[in-house]
Amino acid sequence: MSRSAVTDSRPQSQQVKGSGSLLRWRLTRLIGPSVLLGPAGLWLLLLLVVPVLLILRISLVPGLRPEQAITNYGLDNYLQILQPTYLRVLLRSVTFASGTTALCLVVGFPVAYWLALIAPKRWRNLLLVVFILPLWTSSLLRTYAWITLLRTSGVINLVLSSLGLPEQNLMNTTGAVLVGMTYSFLPYMVLILYASLEKLDLRLLEAAADLGASPNVAFWKVTVPQTLPGIAAGGLLVFVTSLGDFVVPTLLGGPSSMTISRLIYNQFLGVSRNWGFGSALSIVLISAVSIAIALLLKYGDRNPDGFS
């Protein structure tokens, strides 16, 4: 059936009228979608598309500083990223983000599993609120709380020394960054995994047991594949947010753990003040994240008809 045959639901008498009424009818058909999508569309256009295009333009101006007029264009900013120092920063950022994602998954999956499948039904909502409670406080505040735990005269070292154990240098380490970021983003992971596990058809687990699968085998062959869309979505969200986070690496990572987001911050608001380079870094970050999302959408769901 042709498209117009499906959408054209006017009575016959109206169709034979002049082309003026046809045009009016077409216009009225556009009002609905524009009312529904208009505000959000405008929002996205003004606050996402336009700024990204501005940043793309600035990234093509070699070493543009604030208040400086644009004189020439070139790819110098992008070539600068290829210097080993900055490639190391990129690699470190990806390592932090992947490490955080893996830790969130390992810590978050059992929590989400327990909440969705084992915890008593009437307590579930309350328990879920308890788990996402940290999201309601400022992330800056939460990160400062980690400093009081990890610093040289902090809570952990006080406990260690009172037990007669040597003090540990915990601040400004990769471990501190991973712990801090995992703590910050775990609630997102738990929420998404919970939503996915809650929809899990328990009859499939019975079917697996019926066919001889022990609970362990059934978990890997049924539960995990069935919740794979949730695992992918949660992983992507945590990966993207931790890649863009600069609060935790700045406060807990110290000067040695420079990440791409800290680097961007420095170019715009920190000491470097190189808007051109900062914009190029931003474009690289945005592209990397977009590619990751696109790959997930394309290959995340291999079943042609889809299941969720």
Binding site: R203, L204, G212, D305, F307
Partner: protein
């Protein structure tokens, strides 16, 4: 007679161990009793049905056999082994679920191969058996499809193949045809029956469809409120129901409540309305005089005539209140002079087509009715 034919049909040897045995099994959920002291013994190779209305405990009984429920009391034996404490995944049974419960993240082939892979079956052997199972249910051309791409009937076949490929000691079927439309259901019933004969495996079917149970089973257990009301071959259940519930649930029947009036050679039941019904002594379940009882007469056993028929045990006068033309049959409601109403089913022949309001005589012989516990 029909009964004897069906009893030779049952492939049981009395001394063989039962494939499935339930001994005084009960199951209580949060204070609600779902199954009460059920005793069952299912013979090897038998097609056994558990029949009853929804909420009678039939599915719970099946889940006690498959191991998804642990009995609150009693023992479950499979091929002589007490499996009361054996988890579902170690029991030699496979289930076809009402919802099919196919793994939608796997192809049809992987669904069917699932059980064999877990058993650690070698590659060649696995491929041969999966192919064989898919052929058996005529789904071999759909091997690479996903379950969501199949129709309900096709999913049903995959679910069957996924269970039978493991060659279980017992196949458990939980209302497997419930979600199919009538025509497909009839077709699948025939295929189930063929499959049962070809495989020689014990089938345990749970259903609320009495026709399905009658047409497929060697024996049927009728359940009600967690109890087993009666176990017997389809003809036993239909021709000689033990209780009014069974008589009413399996097919249509006329129930006339009354009291046992006379015992001995000529047993009689007298209804409150004053009918005196002769019941064959073999059909009498109740030995006590004055005991309350219900007499069950099947509509097709009642004879309609315009004159009183001499020499018939039970013959009463009445008039046709309603008549429904059903094509092969004519369905009448006859109101007796005593006020009792009887449903009568007559084959469609000119002499059996009375007009409404016509005075008629209904008659049936003593052995065609049965006095049951009220």
């Amino acid at each position: 007679m029909f009964q004897t034919a069906s009893s030779t049909h049952a492939p049981a040897q009395e001394q063989a161990i039962s494939d499935v045995e339930l001994r005084q099994v009960s199951k209580i959920f949060d204070g609600e009793v779902a199954v009460r002291g059920v005793d069952l013994s299912i013979r090897p190779g038998e097609f056994f049905s558990i029949l009853g209305p929804s909420g009678c405990g039939k599915t719970t009984t099946l889940r006690l056999i498959s191991g998804f429920e642990v009995p609150s009391a009693g023992d479950v034996l499979i091929q002589g082994q007490n499996v009361k404490r054996t988890p579902a995944y170690r029991r030699p049974v496979n289930t076809v679920f009402q919802s099919y419960a196919l793994f939608n993240h796997m192809t049809v082939w992987d669904n069917v191969a699932f059980g064999l892979k877990i058993q650690g079956c070698n590659r060649q052997h696995l491929q041969k058996r999966v192919k064989e199972a898919l052929q058996r249910v005529k789904m071999e051309t759909f091997a690479q499809r996903y379950p969501t791409q199949l129709s309900g009937g096709q999913q049903q076949r995959v679910a069957l193949a996924r269970a039978l490929v493991n060659r279980p000691a017992v196949m458990l079927l939980d209302e497997p045809l419930g979600a199919l439309d009538l025509k497909l259901r009839k077709q699948m019933q025939i295929e189930l029956s063929t499959l049962h004969r070809a495989l020689g495996i014990t089938f345990v079917l749970v259903t609320h469809d009495q026709e399905e149970a009658l047409s497929l089973s060697n024996r049927i257990a009728v359940m009600r409120d967690g109890y087993i009301e009666q176990i017997g071959s389809p003809s036993e259940i239909y021709e000689r129901p033990n209780t009014a519930f069974v008589a009413n649930f399996i097919g249509d029947t006329n129930l006339l409540s009354g009291q046992v009036e006379a015992l001995g050679e000529s047993m009689r039941v007298k209804t409150a309305s004053g009918l005196q019904i002769s019941v064959d002594s073999n059909q009498m379940q109740l030995p006590n005089r004055y005991q309350a009882t219900s007499v069950s007469v099947r509509p097709e056993k009642i004879h309609l005539s315009s004159q009183r028929r001499p020499g018939v045990d039970n013959c009463f006068e009445g008039r046709v209140k309603h008549m429904m033309y059903l094509g092969t049959h004519v369905h009448c409601v006859v109101e007796l002079t005593t006020g009792d109403c009887l449903t009568v089913l007559q084959s469609n022949q000119p002499q059996h087509r009375p007009d409404a309001q016509m005075p008629v005589y209904v008659s049936w012989s003593a052995e065609d009715c049965r006095a049951l516990a009220a």
